[in-house]
Symmetry: C2
Subunit: 216 residues, 2 copies
């Protein structure tokens, strides 16, 4: 979004002197108020400058980039999440890996009845155990999983941007998407989805190609 | 970026009737040409409508979203890529996994002298072999790697959007970033980086938070 030299000048003026009235800007530029109107309209339209009645124009600093930030911030985890792949605590490490291969996922979530999340097992976890020479058939996933509450989680209505940040900062491949379980135990979380780096990459491609993110 | 009802009406008119002159639009809306000027300026500014001298206004269909698409398209693989982690063909599967753990990567690239890419080995590949009961100490990575030319690759100057699409469509976690090797064999590719889903997710977070992508 390119501004003309005069629009740039006006934006700079509003930034340093604002709030400033249209008359004051016109005076400084030696033009009429009417001649300024299209330029001011464009600056207001772009979001960079706002008009406040009886006060004048002031600078917001918004631009296409910051509007984008605002809009991407509206996309929620539930808009891009995948179905979670789960196993029970007694499942053997071997069967957990078979599930990973069949479902083509990098980790499986370990649940109790009611979908209550108790752990997560990744390819990396199993590989570590396999390298140590353990018998994967005999070892239940419960032994090698990362247990709650150590797991980083997200929720369906969390902005996907915040969740993506959790993935990056905690160096994990995916997050379980959870909701409070409708039970007496108010710490219990029910798993309702998973958010992976693949979901993020797909969203990036969709947005970049002008698809997806209907919120935008 | 919201348009006023009159701007929407003008955009629609230009879309269906364009190219159309300012005078013709003014006539249809029963307003003066001067009264239209700010609205037309905004539509041109937004990129949605373009003006061609002696022809009139015509519709481009561009909006904030498509401008974003244009801008994201300018970010290259080399702007976000990571350093590649490599092993030689004779490395044992066991040592390749140790390298994966030490470097905390999901796959390692197999190279010949000069950094010529000949294969890639992922955690998944090794896990599959380990599950089958093979001796990881004795098995060279050459046996279990995905060999060239089956590997999907990217180049430093490819748009990161195109590369991200390759990752999604081919269901891989990363792509080797390659350049033609300066040798007689003109099919040989030298590995100079790796592009992972983590790189894409980080770019998404950076763009969403208004950082990064200095090209924007």
């Amino acid at each position: 979004m390119g501004l003309t030299p005069r629009q740039e000048k006006i934006a700079e003026m509003v930034k340093t002197l604002g709030p400033i009235t249209g008359e004051q800007i016109a005076e400084r530029l030696h033009v009429t108020r009417a001649a300024l109107r299209p330029d001011l309209a464009i600056l207001v339209m772009s979001g960079m400058v706002e008009a406040r009645p009886k006060v004048g124009y002031y600078y917001t600093g918004k631009n296409v980039r910051s509007m984008l930030t605002e809009q991407v911030g509206r996309i929620k985890v539930q808009d891009v999440q995948s179905v979670p792949v789960v196993v029970t605590a007694g499942t053997s490490a071997y069967d957990a890996v078979v599930t990973m291969f069949l479902e083509d996922v990098g980790s499986v979530f370990v649940v109790e009845p009611g979908g209550i999340l108790i752990g997560v097992v990744s390819r990396k976890d199993v590989l570590k155990v396999a390298m140590g020479g353990s018998d994967l058939y005999k070892m239940p996933v419960k032994v090698l999983m990362t247990p709650m509450p150590k797991i980083i989680v997200t929720t369906p209505d969390e902005p996907v941007l915040t969740a993506a940040k959790k993935i990056i900062e905690n160096e994990v491949d995916s997050l379980p998407v959870v909701v409070p379980a409708s039970q007496q135990d108010n710490k219990a979380l029910e798993i309702v989805g998973r958010l992976t780096k693949t979901n993020i990459a797909r969203l990036f491609v969709d947005l970049g190609e002008g698809r997806g993110g209907e919120q935008l």
